[in-house]
Symmetry: C2
Subunit: 246 residues, 2 copies
């Protein structure tokens, strides 16, 4: 199955970097707090970060007391930045696809992946690899775009009123699990859509116990500050999942 590496595309890379450099974005307002809220105590733990990108999360896990962090990313360009900006004696960056982590010859207490899973075609295979890499009692925590987003394949995503206010999401093809291409900085960024039920079944069938899911929404305070995020009440942007290996 395909292993997608859009982040090594120059145009995509620059566009993405500019987005992440913005102080306020959906990632740091909603995805990151939700993901981190599901972290166990990391003191003395070995952590594997899949799709680590620039390595900011790896550094955060060190700050939280992790003993060792391995950051994996398919993009060489992302890892160059990671090594420059977020290096630490306890962090090892590996340039490989998530599909290939079977080759890493060690076990981890925690596997984390932030907004990378929807780029993976072989979800089932990656989940089984993660299960293998975890110690007994270890947890896997990951975030992805909402399954109500990953089936988007072009056209108007939202219906708005005459003032541009979003009235509803135009949801189609949620039941068609396939590869969806769309434009994000560059043409043809591929997302692999899976229904909620497929996500749950893949994790459960592998042997994981599903502990928690979060579909992050703004609270009143955040909404007062950034009113544009009211649209999350129509359709949250993210899904965050925590599962445990028994």
């Amino acid at each position: 199955m395909a292993k997608q590496n859009i982040y090594d595309n120059e145009t995509f890379f620059e566009g993405y970097k500019a987005l992440r450099d913005k102080e306020v974005n959906a990632n740091n307002l909603f995805e990151m707090p939700a993901l981190f809220s599901l972290l166990p105590d990391l003191i003395g733990k070995r952590v594997l970060d899949l799709g680590c990108g620039f390595g900011e999360h790896c550094m955060e896990y060190i700050r939280r007391g992790a003993d060792r962090v391995v950051g994996v990313d398919i993009s060489e360009k992302m890892l160059e930045v990671a090594k420059e900006e977020n290096s630490d004696p306890k962090i090892t960056y590996l340039n490989m696809a998530m599909e290939d982590i079977g080759a890493i010859d060690e076990k981890f207490d925690v596997v984390i992946s932030s907004l990378a899973m929807h780029y993976v075609e072989d979800f089932d295979g990656v989940v089984r690899n993660i299960y293998e890499k975890l110690t007994e009692g270890g947890v896997f925590i990951y975030s992805q775009e909402s399954p109500m987003s990953t089936c988007y394949s072009g056209g108007s995503r939202w219906t708005t009123d005459e003032d541009g206010v979003k009235i509803h999401l135009n949801l189609s093809n949620y039941g068609r699990e396939a590869e969806y291409s769309s434009e994000w900085f560059v043409d043809d960024v591929k997302r692999y859509h899976r229904m909620f039920s497929t996500i749950v079944n893949t994790l459960a069938d592998t042997g994981f116990t599903i502990e928690k899911m979060i579909e992050p929404l703004p609270d009143d305070e955040l909404l007062a500050k950034y009113p544009d995020y009211y649209d999350l009440f129509h359709r949250p942007d993210f899904l965050i999942v925590r599962v445990k290996k028994n």
Copy 2:
């Protein structure tokens, strides 16, 4: 919290009965096969059916070898039909709300509920009651309208093209967990909307292990026979869940 009993409304009852009497409907094409596919071997088992309605399912569980079936429904009118049309020495029908099953002085190996949970306001309380009524290793299997449907509160549910073909679901308020009233035979049928994440968390927090979810879709054969059901590929009508008490 409110315990809703729409089925004792005369108009609703007659409308619903006519719908169920139709040989082909979404219930018997999609919901029932999916629900039954998750059933364990029922031979010698004690089964509790929550929202049993006319009791057809109760009879089916007896046919599948169950030793004892207790059918619970809040509607006296539904149970009158059940006792007349689907009675068996091994079946007991109880006229009570799902919220009150704590009063039943016995345990069950299997608890099943077909398309009733979205009428329940206190999902958390009902799930805890079910957990209590189950033996160790017992399973709870239930179906509900899709969480992408239960947030519907009027207006156009679908956007269609000029030929009336459904192009997309108009999804709004998925993130607002509330009571939604809509018209179904009568005005003001109340559904209690919960996001996928809330369903998962309620079950997991109670102590259940989530084993399986199904969002039923038509296969090619069924689609060839009933082409109108293509719209399920935009948004499946149902969610079916199986969880286990450890």
